[in-house]
């Protein structure tokens, strides 16, 4: 193989300090010092992954919390009060929920802004990718497009829900949430949010693992197949759990419609003894 040596650096001119022409100075310093590539593309790429991972983990935890309604109304009531810091302060502080909602909103904005770098931006890019996707008929290419579309929808759907939680943090409880779902006519939003968020999150986690080579093992094809199965199970499980949970809220809200706005009161026996 023919080999090339890196060119040797030209010597600095012998003029007194400060008199050397800038071009010669730059040339002498070499590329590594004079024209260093920005470190930001690496940081932004990492941040996109980290923010996405954090949001996906939040999604999983969020689903576990809201699904507590399936255990009992009181269980969900306890979970809601827990997040209002009752266990810490003795009394519920709904602003803690607002704080979490604000944090998630911030994370979402960062993630959406970073993800925008990857979106097709012009007609040419759109049409080139669409033609490519159609002719290639390739699962991971099509999945990426599904992720772009679901991500775009999530820009709007999440803000509706997050503003609700930000502005009315105290209204989280079995009747309060059920009234929001049914009498507040939020169920179509939640239904759409469920599918888009779970699909987006599932593909996102799968792609994150492939992107950084996590959980793939030594055989990339087998590893990818395994990850794909995990993704299917993840999405199917959370969509099903979400549907059942949403149905439970809708049913509760429908039965409670006549008393919409009435707050849930836990049974007296369940109240922690306070002196």
């Amino acid at each position: 193989m023919r080999q090339y040596a890196k060119p040797t650096l030209p010597p600095l001119p012998v003029e007194p300090d400060g008199l050397a022409p800038p071009s010669a100075r730059l040339q002498h310093q070499g590329q590594s010092q004079a024209l260093t590539a920005s470190r930001w593309p690496a940081r932004l790429d990492l941040l996109q992954g980290i923010s996405g991972l954090a949001l996906a983990l939040f999604l999983v935890a969020h689903m576990a919390f809201v699904a507590s309604i399936l255990v009992s109304e009181e269980m969900f009531y306890r979970v809601a009060r827990f997040f209002e810091g009752e266990w810490l302060f003795g009394t519920p502080h709904p602003w803690l929920v607002s704080l979490v909602a604000a944090g998630v909103t911030g994370l979402l904005i960062v993630h959406a802004w970073l993800a925008l770098r990857k979106f097709p931006a012009s007609y040419r890019q759109h049409s080139a990718f669409a033609a490519h996707r159609r002719r290639l008929r390739h699962v991971d290419t099509s999945l990426w497009w599904l992720q772009v579309v679901s991500g775009f929808i999530l820009f709007f759907l999440t803000t509706i829900h997050l503003y609700d939680m930000l502005s009315q943090p105290a209204l989280i409880g079995p009747y309060e949430s059920a009234d929001r779902v049914w009498s507040g006519r939020m169920w179509p939003i939640y239904l759409a949010l469920l599918f888009t968020a779970e699909v987006h999150g599932g593909i996102g986690l799968y792609r994150l693992a492939l992107k950084w080579g996590w959980f793939v093992g030594d055989a990339p094809n087998r590893g990818r197949l395994r990850l794909r199965r995990v993704r299917h199970v993840f999405t199917a499980f959370f969509v099903t759990l979400g549907l059942v949970t949403l149905l439970a809220y809708a049913d509760l809200g429908r039965n409670h419609a006549a008393h919409a706005g009435e707050r849930y009161q836990p049974p007296p026996s369940a109240e922690p003894a306070r002196s």
Partner: protein
């Protein structure tokens, strides 16, 4: 089953294939691109390379397509077969339907019909990414070469199997949208020279070449490159590896 005893299910008449080929010659822009049908009889073990040569020999000598080695080594005959990038010489017609649509690889400069100038782009990418063994000291051609562990030599050779056919670029959704993206072929070459102990470049030097959105951070892990590489190079693993290394470099 023992091959000799296997019942040969050869039909009495060969299959009649229709190759639908996208015709366009940039030298005659007044003739708009069009699809032309060519009918031929399928023969045993026929590849698209054989079929195309037969068509050119017996039906249309003006049909343009590239080939050199006809054995999947030169990388000249890559084209879109039913929309997917593949080497014509490695594609058996029996694996295709009776109607096969052939088009030139997208992204690359079209020479005419199925022939594209992958070499021009590959050369430009090689120069841009400096895909050669970079050494700070001039090589002493009289000295014995330093020994290399066989495992390392194998690992380098594994990545060196790239034939620059352009299938990974044609299968890459990112490259279709962003023309400056270096693609799997470029990243694989960086991975190859990064392994090489004779190359004195550090990760900081490699970051200068691929540490941006046209390099490794532009890859969106659509993995068309990995799935359509005719040489089955471990591109998914290599790009993920480079991304980790460059991210560490970028976080400093």
């Amino acid at each position: 089953m023992i091959p000799l005893l296997r019942h040969s299910a050869r039909p009495s008449r060969p299959r009649r294939l229709t190759l639908q080929i996208l015709r366009y010659n940039p030298a005659t822009p007044e003739i708009a691109p069009y699809l032309q049908d060519f009918a031929i009889d399928e023969s045993d073990g026929m590849t698209l390379f054989i079929a195309l040569n037969e068509i050119r020999a017996s039906q249309d000598p003006s049909l343009q397509f590239d080939f050199v080695c006809r054995a999947g080594i030169c990388g000249s005959c890559a084209m879109l077969v039913d929309g997917r990038p593949a080497l014509a010489c490695r594609t058996l017609t029996r694996d295709c339907g009776p109607r096969i649509v052939l088009a030139p690889l997208p992204f690359f400069e079209l020479i005419g019909d199925l022939s594209v100038n992958t070499g021009k782009w590959m050369r430009g990418t090689a120069e841009r990414l400096q895909t050669w063994i970079a050494q700070t000291q001039p090589v002493d051609l009289d000295a014995l070469e330093a020994r290399m562990e066989p495992a390392l030599a194998e690992a380098i050779y594994e990545l060196d199997r790239c034939i620059e056919c352009g299938c990974c670029i044609a299968a890459c959704g990112t490259a279709q949208m962003r023309e400056d993206f270096v693609g799997a072929v470029g990243l694989n070459k960086i991975a190859r020279f990064r392994l090489d102990p004779r190359d004195t470049r550090s990760d900081a030097d490699f970051y200068e070449l691929i540490g941006d959105d046209n390099g490794v951070f532009g890859c969106m892990s659509l993995l068309g490159c990995h799935d359509f590489c005719p040489k089955q190079l471990p591109l998914q693993t290599q790009i993920a590896f480079l991304r980790r290394k460059m991210a560490v470099e970028g976080w400093r």
